[in-house]
Symmetry: C2
Subunit: 133 residues, 2 copies
């Protein structure tokens, strides 16, 4: 099956401080965007066919704020692009892979996604997202 | 500047256990390989233009063993491919970016690389590697 890295989600305390290294590397960086539903402010840094997503919490209740409190700054999730998410999820369930939620969800841009629990993926929170970005 | 994700290094306790999720996703996985200098055993999982590197320590003294003891399983580093490493490193030094080592090193396959310290990169250990993989 053809997979690719769609994006890497990186939890940071401050977008301004964290995007500096990518500016110094000469990368283009998207304007800041707030995603109310996730209580985060983010910028995206395109990297070839992938991108980095720097995520700063806008509320103490956001999942990213809780992650920062527990683990500090760093990688929050790896997102892989798959062609047919329904078929993949059925297969993973048959093989007893632990998903964070058993239902496929609809995210930004209408994309369908699930998260595989880190206990089933070498300590990494692994997102599967259908199609391109 | 054109950057791309060369690979993601993921520290795991057991290659056998951790590669299972990628087998279930239908990914191809390289044969296991031991890198004596780094005291690790690894497999690579190609992902489009990038790849995942699953890293299992072969000794308690390896950097990966120390990482696992301190942080548990998960992402160890993000490696970005840059076209001209010498120019990039000179620029980063001028801008007072903290590097793990000030000298460019030669790694597997003769590739030149440096690591940017997590304190300068949003909590992520960021490797810069020159050229392709």
């Amino acid at each position: 099956m053809t997979l690719a890295i769609d994006h890497l989600g990186i939890a940071v305390k401050s977008l301004a401080a964290s995007k500096a290294i990518y500016e110094k590397l000469g990368c283009s960086i998207s304007p800041e965007e707030v995603v109310e539903g996730e209580q985060v402010r983010l910028v995206m840094v395109p990297m070839g066919e992938s991108r980095l997503e720097l995520l700063e919490p806008t509320s103490e209740n956001s999942a990213i704020a809780k992650f920062l409190a527990k683990r500090g700054e760093g990688l929050h999730h790896i997102s892989l692009r798959v062609p047919d998410l329904t078929a993949v999820v059925e297969r993973l369930k048959r093989e007893n892979v632990r998903l964070v939620s058993n239902e496929i969800k609809i995210g930004a841009g209408g994309h369908r996604y699930v998260f595989i629990h880190p206990s089933s993926a070498g300590g990494v929170l692994l997102e599967l997202v259908e199609g391109g970005h």
